[in-house]
């Protein structure tokens, strides 16, 4: 009997007990209904959203730090801290005015100089920020509420850059904190967002606490993702880190926690049976599974080998390994962009459609001159998503006659090893697995993984002039039609070159107790508008 079997069995029986009419008065339900207890997807180990760009840090930071703009559910950036903006006719000078009454948690007003310092730190780390920095003339505070960004070339995606939800977001901090080197951690966690971080109660790895900021003035518009009025309906939010999924499921069933961000799919059926618990898709933008091949070294430096792998891979195999038999949770993805978003395209994706062609894969492999050298496949087995994909890939490679050197290790090692550019036999690697948040793949804006600019590209270091040309074309596009046309060409070029291998599109669930209301689907957990009754 393995650990997973025990875990599933007990969670299932627990759920049956709950649905069988047993009353479930949680031990801690006497606690104030104004406190929301939330189990995050991962441990909040650090709290600098520019220095460390894990999603969990971004999610917590969205409570504490506000942004100038916020992306709404239609993927459009809307004003958030900004009252108005103006752009010069030549598109080179942007002038922004902050809305009145913005305050930091230490009581100080938010001034333009704080914004300038924050944007300077952000733009040293963010891909879009780096593009802005490269064409920047100057970024200056005009007065306490006005700042100006003057550029050498137009940048039509300015508002998207300032409001995007991919990490790192352009969070606004007090000037003294924002002046910290972007590659070192900030010493204080003072923002102007709707919640204050209770640093004194922080137990990294176990608990993080946020308290309502009384002086926060929400916008008047209806809330929508990171846009609109961020109305806090609870006074306190406690993030309870529970590393064991079975324990988290039991705690939710027992009423010890109110909301579990990411229940594992094995436990979802039992949670659905519990009459006190709601389960729903967490984020309609989902995730894109992927593995990357190292374009620098044999055998994957040969596009024929990369295409051979693409021709043979079955996305269904990958998705079933990730999410089981719940077909509502996945769909095939013959492309690189998030399904059901404006730029989604399948242009050039034929190789990923239809029946898998092992014969074609073997033929391409033979043509490439592949001579059975080992393919070093590094897999983080402490991350279920990468481990499941790695197992499928190992089998796939063997089926087409490749010699697999399967290195199962932990994420800390994979993270280090994938940065090595040396050949696989000298500490480097041949392929690794990961996934990308669908929210990051709606356009080329924050989509590091699609870039093919050689040494500057993401791990795997693909080089494709066509891909890069189309990325630039998208940034320069004047309207949606031009954007769509550029992304179509980009998608085709990326598949032709096999920048990386998409293994499918998958969704995940979130679960909460029925006395909690107002939970919205989105790319991160939004706490504004969420209420709780005793």
């Amino acid at each position: 009997m393995d650990r997973r079997t025990v875990l599933k069995g007990l969670a299932g029986v627990g759920s049956l007990a709950a649905t069988g009419g047993l009353s479930m008065p949680a031990l801690s339900q006497g606690a104030a209904a104004r406190t929301l207890r939330f189990v995050p997807q991962a441990n909040l180990a650090n709290f600098d959203p520019i220095w460390g760009t894990q999603y969990v840090v971004r999610n917590a930071a969205a409570l504490v730090w506000d942004t100038l703009y916020g992306l709404d559910a239609t993927l459009q950036p809307q004003r958030q801290m900004v009252e108005s903006e103006e752009v010069s006719d030549d598109g080179l000078v942007w002038t922004f005015r902050l809305r009145p009454g913005l305050k930091f948690h230490d009581g100080e007003p938010v001034r333009s100089k704080d914004v300038v310092a924050s944007l300077a730190r952000w733009s040293a780390r963010d891909p879009m920020g780096l593009m802005l920095k490269a064409i920047q003339n100057e970024l200056t505070a005009v007065d306490d509420r006005t700042f100006k960004w003057s550029l050498k070339a137009p940048y039509p995606k300015m508002l998207l850059a300032l409001g995007k939800n991919s990490t790192p977001c352009a969070f606004i901090m007090p000037e003294r904190i924002a002046q910290t080197d972007p590659f070192k951690q900030i010493p204080e966690y003072i923002g102007s967002g709707p919640m204050k971080f209770a640093k004194g109660e922080w137990v990294p790895g176990a608990k993080a606490v946020f308290e309502k900021f009384a002086d926060y003035t929400p916008r008047q518009e209806k809330t929508s993702w990171l846009a609109g009025g961020k109305q806090m309906l609870v006074d306190r939010i406690e993030w309870v880190v529970i590393p064991d999924p079975a324990t988290a499921a039991a705690a939710l069933q027992n009423g010890e926690v109110d909301w579990w961000e990411s229940p594992i799919t094995d436990l979802v059926p039992s949670l659905k049976k519990n009459r006190n618990i709601n389960v729903d898709i967490a984020d309609p933008l989902g995730n894109i599974g992927s593995f990357r091949m190292n374009h620098l070294h044999p055998p994957f430096n040969d596009v024929k080998v990369r295409r051979a792998v693409l021709a043979a891979l079955s996305q269904e195999d990958y998705m079933r390994a990730l999410v089981g038999d719940d077909t509502a949770l996945w769909k095939p993805l013959p492309g690189f962009f998030t399904p059901d978003t404006p730029l989604y395209t399948e242009e050039g994706g034929e190789i990923l459609k239809g029946k898998r062609d092992l014969a074609m894969a073997k033929k391409l492999l033979a043509e490439s001159g592949y001579s059975s050298q080992p393919v070093t496949c590094v897999v983080a087995q402490d991350q279920p998503i990468t481990k499941a994909q790695g197992d499928v890939t190992a089998d796939l490679l063997k089926q087409i006659g490749m010699n697999v050197d399967f290195v199962a290790t932990d994420w800390g090692t994979v993270g280090s090893r994938r940065a090595q550019k040396t050949p696989p036999g000298q500490g480097g690697w041949g392929m690794f697995h990961t996934w990308h948040a669908g929210a990051d793949c709606i356009s080329p804006a924050a989509y590091n993984a699609i870039r093919a600019n050689g040494d500057k590209a993401w791990f795997g270091w693909p080089t494709s002039e066509v891909v890069e040309k189309e990325v630039t074309a998208w940034f320069d596009a004047k309207n949606l039609d031009e954007e769509k046309a550029a992304v179509k060409r980009l998608n085709k070029a990326a598949i032709d070159d096999v920048v990386y291998a998409p293994t499918g599109f998958f969704l995940s669930y979130t679960a909460w107790r029925k006395n909690v209301a107002g939970i919205a689907k989105g790319p991160l957990p939004f706490f504004w508008g969420v209420s709780k009754t005793a």
């Binding site: 009997m1 025990v6 875990l7 007990l10 029986v13 627990g14 007990a17 479930m24 008065p25 031990l27 441990n43 180990a45 650090n46 709290f47 600098d48 220095w51 460390g52 760009t53 894990q54 840090v57 780390r125 991919s166 990490t167 080197d181 590659f183 070192k184 951690q185 137990v203 990294p204 790895g205 176990a206 608990k207 309870v240 880190v241 529970i242 590393p243 064991d244 079975a246 324990t247 039991a250 705690a251 027992n254 010890e256 402490d382 290790t409 932990d410 994420w411 800390g412 090692t413 993270g415 280090s416 994938r418 940065a419 990961t434 990308h436 590091n448 993984a449 500057k456 993401w458 791990f459």
Partner: protein, 313 residues
């Protein structure tokens, strides 16, 4: 005795120094990079490298080790790479839950295991002995997490008597504190109850066959007197030894138990730190555990002199 204790305490210093060097070297050569973990999955290689430089991880081994040692000698365990908090503060934050769990487990273990072992020895060969030993084999064979899940299911989900997870400090009251620790202590203690019950039985059996026990019986002493005054005291040395080893092993067991019951103790901190390659935290915890091991061994040695007057230092 006092000079012996002082000598032993002083001898911990070189032991801890060697452990420190060993652990530091091991971490240095081990694969993995905290900068990669910090930067997140979507970061660029250049970002990872800059973070490495910011953390000083690109410096030569001797400089890193020397800096760390210098700080240690000044009573500074360093700062966590991830949280930017002092390691000593993080350990202080986490030590209470772990010590509480260990203390309750230990008390529970001794209160249950020793009487069981004595009873099994006294009734050797009977159904009582066989039942106790069967229980011991069963409990010893079950992994802590299985026992933990079963206990959580029965006492938390079914009967709703106790919580599934978390920790409440002792300052919040004895019952709130105890409530969170009963299930984890039972889960963690099951293996040690089995182990100590078996050792107690074996040791008691040996003693009960000694001439002085026969003499005591011949003199007409009561059973209780023979068992608990004459026999148990003389059988205590191996039992105390196993309890001592058990305390050391509890630290390892606490890692799993704290994860299953989401207790924010040192065990979870250790696992988190190892997975993230948070070197200063790992080093700080290893030093602390080394010191605890030495201290437990010392306490065991001192206890020998209390239970067996023939032992002198």
């Amino acid at each position: 005795m006092v000079s012996y204790i002082l000598r032993r305490l002083l001898s911990t210093l070189p032991v801890m120094g060697i452990v420190a060097l060993f652990v530091f070297s091991l971490l240095y050569i081990a694969p993995g990079d905290p900068a990669a973990v910090i930067a997140g999955d979507q970061a660029s290689p250049a970002d990872v490298e800059r973070i490495r430089q910011g953390l000083g991880l690109d410096r030569p081994f001797l400089i890193q080790f020397g800096t760390w040692l210098w700080h240690i000698l000044h009573g500074d365990l360093g700062t966590s790479i991830f949280t930017n908090l002092p390691v000593s503060a993080m350990i202080a934050q986490r030590i209470e839950p772990t010590l509480s769990l260990m203390a309750i487990t230990l008390v529970l273990t001794i209160l249950v295991a020793v009487p069981l072992g004595v009873a099994a020895a006294w009734k050797a060969g009977s159904w009582i002995d066989r039942t106790i030993m069967a229980f011991a084999v069963f409990a010893f064979s079950l992994p802590v997490f299985v026992v933990g899940y079963v206990l959580a299911y029965v006492f938390a989900l079914q009967f709703e008597w106790l919580p599934v997870q978390g920790y409440t400090p002792l300052t919040a009251g004895v019952w709130p504190w105890l409530k969170n620790l009963i299930l984890p202590a039972l889960a963690l203690g099951s293996v040690y109850i089995a182990l100590i019950a078996r050792i107690t039985r074996a040791s008691m059996l040996e003693v009960l066959q000694q001439d002085y026990v026969r003499t005591a019986r011949a003199k007409g002493l009561g059973q209780r007197n023979i068992l608990f005054v004459h026999a148990l005291k003389n059988a205590a040395v191996p039992i105390v030894t196993v309890i001592g080893i058990g305390i050391a092993l509890l630290i390892g067991g606490a890692v799993v138990t704290e994860s299953v019951f989401a207790i924010p103790g040192l065990g979870r901190l250790t696992i988190d730190a190892i997975l993230r390659r948070d070197y200063p935290v790992i080093q700080g915890i290893v030093l602390l555990f080394s010191f605890l091991y030495v201290l437990v061994n010392l306490m065991v040695d001192v206890t020998y002199t209390l239970v067996d007057p023939r032992i002198r230092y």
